[in-house]
């Protein structure tokens, strides 16, 4: 190998520094741009923007509440469905499955994560929506119709379909992170538990307990993805800005209103309103990702410490 000398080292280090700081600059620039462009809306509506329920671009009335509501409810719905399934898959893969099965299943989970969201959206329109309309919805309305959750028109397009599509999309992410977290729990713990006479179930519980904050991190990562998902949701959620308890009624999310209207917002206040919604989404995503990082970091440190003992 040729000698590069001290100068080469210095040069290399500076290049790395530039590469790393460019990310910071990029994020700061995005934030600044969004803040600056949403100033007209912030000045005009103030906090009222966050709590307004009316969205009528033609009359320059902009309220973000239905979109915030739609984003939160669809994401929470997705988590409620996806978390138990993802945990089940991850525990099976790390604790129970023989290698010969764990490998292909793990591979398929990762494959799911690579499908473009527009494909999920199309599948949602052609398969999931008719399924909900014809098979899942009617029994829910028959037996649980007294709950406001299951009242309203059943068209197959609405909050429930959006939530289910999101659940499907975040399952692979949560699964693979949880699996990694579980694998990080030292084998010695499992051996110790088994040696003390614990059953497989009890051992798993101990492992889960030690990995808890990492699992929480995985869930938050999934939530971050669900909140920002655009295309698939736009195609199945019905795009109607309203706040209702019913899961069958159409709703609207921040990401999908941006996708549908960003390209054609011709007047300043309309564009500014959309950008402020983007800003809200951006801030929420940063907070969520930060939380996830902290949680995953804490479990990693613990497992490192444990394996050094």
């Amino acid at each position: 190998m040729a000698q590069t000398g001290a100068l080469g080292d210095k040069l290399f280090r500076s290049i790395l520094w530039i590469a790393a700081t460019s990310i910071l600059v990029l994020v700061a620039a995005i934030f600044y741009m969004m803040l600056q462009n949403s100033l007209p809306t912030i000045e005009r509506f103030g906090m009222g923007f966050l709590f307004g329920r009316e969205w009528v671009p033609a009359q320059e009335t902009f309220g973000a509440l239905p979109f915030i509501y739609g984003t939160v409810v669809s994401s929470v719905l997705a988590l409620v469905i996806a978390v138990p399934i993802s945990l089940g898959i991850a525990i099976f893969l790390t604790e129970q499955a023989p290698r010969s099965i764990a490998k292909p299943i793990g591979f398929m989970v990762e494959l799911l994560a690579a499908i473009p969201s527009v494909v999920y959206g199309l599948w949602g329109i052609f398969v999931l929506a008719p399924f909900i309309r014809n098979y899942l919805g009617p029994p829910l309305q028959d037996y649980l119709g007294w709950l406001p959750l299951f009242q309203g028109r059943l068209t197959g397009i609405g909050m429930l379909t959006g939530g289910l599509i999101l659940a499907l999309m975040i399952t692979p992410i949560i699964t693979s992170v949880v699996r990694d977290v579980l694998q990080a729990v030292p084998t010695t713990q499992r051996e110790a538990a088994l040696a003390l006479g614990a059953t497989k179930w009890e051992t798993t519980m101990i492992v889960l307990g030690n990995a808890a904050s990492g699992i929480a991190g995985a869930v938050v990562l999934g939530l971050g993805r669900a909140i920002g998902e655009t295309m698939a949701v736009t195609m199945v959620i019905g795009n109607s800005p309203q706040i209702t308890a019913s899961l069958f009624e159409p709703a609207y999310t921040i990401a999908s209103v941006l996708a549908a209207n960003f390209a054609d917002a011709t007047n300043e206040i309309y564009l500014s309103s959309l950008i402020e919604m983007g800003l809200i989404l951006f801030l929420v995503t940063i907070v969520i990702n930060g939380l996830a990082k902290l949680m995953i970091m804490s479990v990693t440190r613990k497992s490192n410490a444990a394996s050094h003992v």
Partner: protein, 367 residues
């Protein structure tokens, strides 16, 4: 997969996405006015109305066969997006089925914009009711009340009264509207504003209609509305005629200003435009909704190509002018196959004059 490899994959994914975006941005710039025109190859980019997308696809491909050195791409992004693209010069030309408002023209700071009408089309009411054997008949009042959420069931007395021979189901109606800024919505709401006072007061004419809370579902683009109607029973939606025909969905007969129920097709749309040619203003920005004439289909619209009068690039300017000239003359033969209507003869000469306005440094490009 351990954490390091996740990190590695995430970084790779980020870099891939980043470079794709970067490539897309630079591609857009190339399309927007800085490409070399010295050679024989001209490449242009237009965007806008999804209403006219099938027509533009046919025209650009046929024109490309005749002129292999010219490549014109048209993206269906919605009329609102088309107007924005020409204002911000991110496209060489825009397509819209709602003429630009005075305010929108003011925001286009790069010069004077010319409206060039190229084709006419019908906004149709299409519906998903498998049990109907004949087309539904609708009046503007019924359409307005469905979209205002006042008529809720298909077997409503008022729908039954206009359709005595049909057996209508007792199901809820789900109206489908456009979620994005749309010229199709503009034509549709313009028509209802002219015919139904309550609509004018509550919704008005707009590219972004906002229905009362809880009424209907929104689709993005003509194809989005079509997808919802096609896959959801008991829906009704408004789209360009071609989209309904291509999906084998029925179209409603609409009661026009003479009290006749008219089927949407090339002839009834041309008839609507025919009577209006004389009333046209100098800049050709006008509507043909609710037109006079017994044979006129009332929800008809004009599609405009938007271009700057001063074409900064002589090669592109000439290609655009040649293309538009060809489209309203030789290209007309493709119009009816796609269920659009050609612009009436009274308008052709006025359109020719508009195309001849396109110039580079004060010199007309088409010579």
């Amino acid at each position: 997969m351990n954490r390091k490899s996740i990190l590695k994959n995430a970084t790779t994914a980020f870099l891939v996405v980043f470079s794709v975006i970067a490539a897309a941005c630079s591609g857009q710039k190339m399309g927007s006015g800085s490409t070399e025109s010295s050679g024989t190859n001209v490449s242009m980019q237009g965007s806008g109305s999804t209403f006219v997308k099938p027509m533009m696809d046919k025209w650009t491909s046929e024109f490309g066969k005749l002129n292999p050195t010219i490549r014109i791409d048209y993206t269906g992004t919605g009329s609102g997006a088309g107007i924005k693209a020409i204002q911000s010069q991110t496209a060489d030309f825009g397509g819209t089925d709602a003429a630009m408002s005075d305010e929108e023209l003011k925001q286009a700071t790069a010069g004077e914009i010319v409206h060039i009408p190229v084709v006419l089309g019908a906004v149709v009411l299409t519906y998903n009711l498998a049990e109907l054997k004949e087309p539904l008949k609708l009046t503007p009042e019924i359409i307005a009340d469905i979209y205002l959420g006042k008529i809720k069931k298909w077997d409503d007395e008022r729908i039954k009264k206009e359709n005595p021979t049909l057996t209508l189901p007792a199901n809820d109606i789900t109206p489908v509207f456009r979620a994005d800024g749309s010229g199709t919505s503009d034509v549709f709401t313009d028509y209802l504003s002219k015919t139904v006072p309550e609509w004018k007061e509550k919704i008005g004419r707009t590219k972004n209609p906002q229905l009362p809370q809880g009424v209907g579902i929104g689709g993005k683009g003509n194809e989005g509305v079509m997808g919802q109607v096609k896959n959801t029973p008991n829906t009704i939606g408004y789209v360009e005629l071609t989209f309904a025909k291509a999906n084998n969905l029925p179209t409603a007969l609409i009661k026009n200003s003479s009290g006749k129920f008219v089927e949407p097709n090339s002839d009834s749309v041309t008839s609507a435009a025919g009577g209006m040619a004389a009333k046209m203003p100098e800049d050709l920005r006008f509507e043909i909704t609710n037109a006079d004439g017994e044979a006129s289909y009332p929800i008809s619209g004009i599609v405009y190509i938007l271009a700057y009068k001063d074409q900064k690039d002589a090669g592109k300017g000439k290609a655009l002018a040649d293309f538009l000239w060809w489209a309203i003359h030789d290209g007309e033969k493709f119009v009816r196959d796609l269920h659009y209507a050609p612009i009436p003869s009274g308008l052709v000469t006025k359109t020719e004059a508009k195309i001849n306005l396109l110039s580079n440094n004060g010199k007309p490009v088409r010579q």
